[in-house]
């Protein structure tokens, strides 16, 4: 059990909030929402800091809270609706938010392809490949077993490859000369 003074909490925020923000952004794809959900995550963390048992890293614990907060938001947003390619289709002339955030065109293509994946695939790619959590940590965050993390990661990468191909890109084209 731990407790945090205002000063300690401020330090925790400074150290981890950018990473929490980028994690949430990759799930919700909207800057303002990501900022709001980051606030919510840290408020929950402050209120529940005595439940942090130090068996895991503080960062992993914060990511777990962030994940629950983002998933709650996504569920409320998509309650009884279905995601369709028409609704999610990004028009070629429409500037995506990530283009403001990320300057590299190939990374933007990769980001847009990840955006089109189903939530479970997106989650596992973000945690394993972008945030570089171990299989064990990812399993703990997602509340899955380690085998499911391994299988879903492989499937997610396969789906990502298909998504890039559908966009007329290939791994080779996107990642050559990098």
């Amino acid at each position: 059990m731990v407790s945090a003074s205002d000063h300690q909490f401020s330090q925790i925020y400074d150290k981890h909030s950018d990473q929490i923000y980028s994690y949430i952004f990759l799930l919700v794809n909207d800057r303002a929402t990501a900022e709001d959900l980051t606030q919510e995550t840290f408020i929950k963390a402050f209120q529940c800091i005595n439940q942090f048992n130090q068996e895991s890293q503080l960062y992993t614990w914060l990511i777990k809270i962030a994940r629950n907060t983002a998933i709650d938001y996504l569920r409320k947003k998509t309650k009884f609706t279905f995601l369709s390619i028409e609704q999610n289709h990004v028009h070629p002339d429409q500037q995506s938010p990530v283009e403001i955030l990320i300057k590299d065109e190939k990374i933007t293509i990769l980001y847009e392809a990840i955006r089109k994946l189903r939530l479970s695939y997106r989650e596992v790619i973000v945690l394993r490949k972008i945030k570089e959590f171990s299989i064990k940590e990812t399993a703990s965050i997602l509340n899955w077993n380690e085998n499911k993390v391994r299988i879903t990661t492989l499937r997610a990468l396969k789906a990502l490859k298909k998504e890039l191909k559908k966009r007329g890109e290939s791994f080779e084209e996107v990642f050559s000369n990098r």
Binding site: Y21, S22, Q39, T81, I102, L110, L119, K131, E132, K148
Partner: protein, 195 residues
């Protein structure tokens, strides 16, 4: 190996997203305000701790009993060898064809890992009654169900005279949805599957 390391490197770059420093500071101020608002309530809450604890205990017991009953009625049928993880739904083209595939996100396909929807489908296939009736019209929907144990089920679904029938694609055994499940399914279709 080189290709994979290139992909990994590119994915890592997505970890470094720009965040407006002003927004970051504003967020911290809002967090502090919210935390300060909560503090007096915590003190007041402490006075009512005994009451709250008793109330929570009663609610927990109630929820526990309800959950046990719910679990009994939601037992996994022979149809489902594990819980449903995700579904992909499409309007059906014919009895023989099957449109959704695991990685298919083409037009007209709807995919969902929404829990409310998964509850509707779980209940539908768990409670359906086996019937000898064979629907006369072509099927209305194709539904790919992916289970927690990584198995998949291909379901063909018919809607005839406001009744819902379904069968596994590979079998000729038809099931009819019970009234409650039929209503929920058709409502979901009207709410979320408009063409």
């Amino acid at each position: 190996m080189k290709k994979f390391s290139q992909i990994d490197e590119s994915l890592k770059e997505l970890n470094m997203l720009h965040r407006d420093i002003e927004e970051k500071h504003k967020s911290f101020q809002k967090i502090q305000e919210k935390i300060n608002q909560c503090r007096p309530r915590e003190k007041r809450g402490y006075i009512h701790l005994a009451h709250s604890a008793a109330l929570i205990a009663v609610i927990t017991i109630f929820i526990g009993l309800t959950y046990i009953e719910w679990k009994d009625t939601q037992a996994i049928s022979p149809f489902l060898s594990a819980s449903i993880d995700e579904t992909i739904l499409a309007t059906s083209r014919s009895e023989k064809s099957f449109r959704p595939t695991e990685y298919n996100y083409e037009i007209d396909h709807r995919t969902s890992d929404n829990h409310s929807w998964i509850d509707v489908i779980t209940s539908l296939v768990n409670n359906g009654k086996r019937v000898s009736y064979v629907p006369e019209n072509p099927p209305a929907y194709d539904c790919l169900i992916r289970l927690d144990n990584d198995q998949t089920i291909e379901l063909k679904i018919w809607v005839e005279q406001n009744e819902v029938y379904y069968k596994k694609r590979s079998e000729q055994v038809f099931y009819k949805a019970i009234k409650d499940d039929r209503t929920k399914f058709l409502t979901s279709m009207q709410d979320g599957f408009k063409e």
